[in-house]
């Protein structure tokens, strides 16, 4: 039932047009703008991290035996479907490697000659770099496929073994992801400035990923709930999602200050150059401060009262701010290496619209393919409010009717 309504809605048409416009704009940008590949990397990571954060969300819930999110689990599970597509798009960075990554240039400048020494030179070689990228994306996509399959199979046969399998896959994913995503963010983002290094960088990007994907899940849940698709989602779910967004935003701030403080303390030239580039010009300084406000100060203060977390409008506002903050965070990680002042041009707008539209199209496609409530999940009763239990029993008795 969900399939028809979601796919025939006008929203899908608008998204297709937006994607087409974004794609055309991006091709135009590729011809004309030197900023294209930077913006491509930023926006492609922006939506890819939303999808990866959704996998972590599901994995955390499943490993910790948390029942509350079961009624809305299909939303992050549909977001997960973007990872393989986003991964293939990210591989296109191969064609922009000479602009993005200074270490790919055959003749290193005197400044980067230090790279010739030791381990970094071997690590940052083009075949190894893109080989790693393919392996990481393939492993994530494989585990996502297994997690999704186990979840959907349970809808039809109701076997508890799928819950146990999902838990095992989730545990593997969390361990694998912690290591691989850390390395991936060193590769994809940190190596734009190959002389700089920060060991906490991976966890910093993971914290941003968790915050922004929780915000995206919240917005999508509110959107679907408003259209009547998630009848079993109630106030308690909204409250919990609000707590998660606020908690992870604070975790992001913790990671941010941890990275900043150590570099500030030690005052080593190869490390401080990273913050020097981001604070020395007034334009980048404004981005630097705005980043802190969008990602932590504003959402934290906004989400402190309990009533706000249960209010759909306030939550959408807070989550939009968090998403804008994550976009700006990636912008401030990628651009200052080569651009003296922050400019948001045509190419940025086109790529952002294109990628977000593509993400939402894939989301609609994925969520339309399956039941919106995992009706045979043993945790479903625990997840719904007492007064919605009838609904669960109804769903369970409907059995094979609409498959």
């Amino acid at each position: 039932m969900a399939r028809n309504v979601l796919n025939n809605s006008m929203g899908r048409g608008i998204l297709l047009v937006a994607f087409a416009l974004g794609a055309i704009g991006s091709i135009a940008g590729l011809m004309t703008s030197e900023r294209f590949w930077f913006s491509f990397l930023q926006n492609s990571l922006f939506v890819l991290t939303l999808a990866l954060g959704a996998v972590l969300f599901v994995a955390f819930k499943s490993v910790s035996n948390a029942g509350w999110a079961t009624a809305l689990r299909r939303v992050p599970e549909a977001m997960m479907g973007y990872v393989p597509i986003g991964g293939i798009l990210l591989l296109l960075v191969f064609f922009g490697r000479y602009q993005l990554y200074p270490w790919t240039n055959p003749v290193p400048s005197a400044h980067e000659a230090g790279l010739q020494l030791g381990f970094k030179h071997a690590w940052l070689s083009t075949p190894f770099f893109f080989g790693r990228m393919i392996v990481f994306l393939a492993v994530w996509s494989g585990l996502i496929y297994l997690m999704r399959r186990a979840s959907f199979q349970q809808d039809s046969d109701g076997d508890v073994v799928h819950t146990k399998r999902r838990k095992a896959y989730s545990a593997i994913f969390i361990v694998v992801f912690g290591v691989t995503f850390s390395l991936a963010s060193f590769d994809w983002i940190m190596s734009i400035e190959p002389m700089f290094y920060s060991t906490i960088f991976g966890f910093y990007t993971i914290s941003g990923t968790l915050t922004s994907s929780a915000a995206a899940i919240t917005i999508l849940v509110i959107f679907l709930k408003k259209r009547g698709f998630l009848p079993a989602v109630g106030e308690k779910h909204m409250h919990a999602l609000g707590q998660i967004v606020m908690g992870f935003a604070t975790f992001w701030a913790y990671m941010w200050i941890s990275q900043y403080l150590l570099i500030y303390y030690a005052n080593l030239p190869e490390e401080t150059i990273y913050y020097y580039r981001r604070t020395s010009s007034s334009g980048w300084m404004a981005v630097f401060i705005l980043n802190l406000f969008l990602n932590w100060v504003i959402p934290f203060v906004m989400l402190l009262p309990r009533q706000v977390k249960m209010n759909a409008k306030w939550m959408v506002a807070a989550c939009t701010i968090v998403l804008a903050g994550h976009w700006l965070d990636l912008y401030a990680m990628i651009f200052p290496a080569f651009f003296g002042s922050p400019i948001i041009g045509f190419v940025d707008v086109a790529l952002t619209i294109g990628f977000v539209a593509l993400f939402l199209l894939v989301f609609i496609k994925c969520i339309g393919c399956e039941e919106l409530i995992p009706r045979n999940d043993p945790y479903l009763e625990e997840s719904v409010e007492h007064e919605d239990l009838e609904l669960v029993y109804q769903l369970r008795t409907e059995t094979a009717g609409d498959i």
């Binding site: 200050i257 309990r306 007492h386």
Partner: protein
């Protein structure tokens, strides 16, 4: 959960014991519906949704935690600015005396510490759990008993109706008294 009023000697209570949380949850909702006034419920562990079933008002403890946290934050700033920039300035690694980033960890820690300690202290005070205070508790309440206490405040309290209600939800034991704790 709620403070008792030891001065009101005339108020009587009826306490019913149950052996599971579902019965307690259900009877709490029905008792409220039928016009009984619930004094309190006692359970061995926190139960989700119990506050709603009993009709508890929103706790004021959140505000106290907020004020205490703000107090911690302010004292952390004052402490560090005073000690490292005014009272005894020390040059550490060439940093300015008033280096704000270095103050952040202590600001965070004192906010959490103040907010945690003061909230727990106020919680104990609000519940009249002073040091050395003696409270009698219901037998089995820390183990496997779930207890509902009804207030018998006025003449409208229907003892028979209450007894029927207790029986409907399989109360194991019913106690009545002037002071329930």
């Amino acid at each position: 959960m709620r403070a008792t009023e030891p001065s009101e000697k005339t108020v009587r209570y009826a306490a019913a014991f149950f052996d599971n949380e579902h019965d307690l949850m259900a009877i709490a909702a029905e008792a409220r519906l039928r016009g009984f006034e619930i004094q309190d419920v006692f359970t061995p562990y926190p139960i989700h949704g119990m506050d709603r079933a009993v009709g508890l008002k929103r706790s004021r403890l959140g505000w106290i935690a907020f004020v205490a946290g703000a107090l911690g934050l302010i004292s952390a700033i004052l402490l560090q600015v005073w000690t490292s920039a005014y009272d005894w300035p020390l040059n550490v690694g060439g940093k300015p005396f008033n280096s704000f980033p270095l103050f952040v960890p202590v600001m965070f820690e004192l906010t959490v510490l103040f907010s945690g300690l003061i909230s727990i202290g106020v919680l104990f005070m609000m519940n009249r759990l002073w040091i050395m205070s003696k409270k009698k508790i219901f037998e089995g309440v820390t183990d496997d008993r779930f207890i509902l206490v009804l207030k018998q405040e006025d003449a409208s309290f229907d003892t028979e109706k209450a007894a029927r209600l207790f029986k409907k939800y399989n109360a194991i034991k019913v106690m009545e008294g002037d002071k329930f704790v």
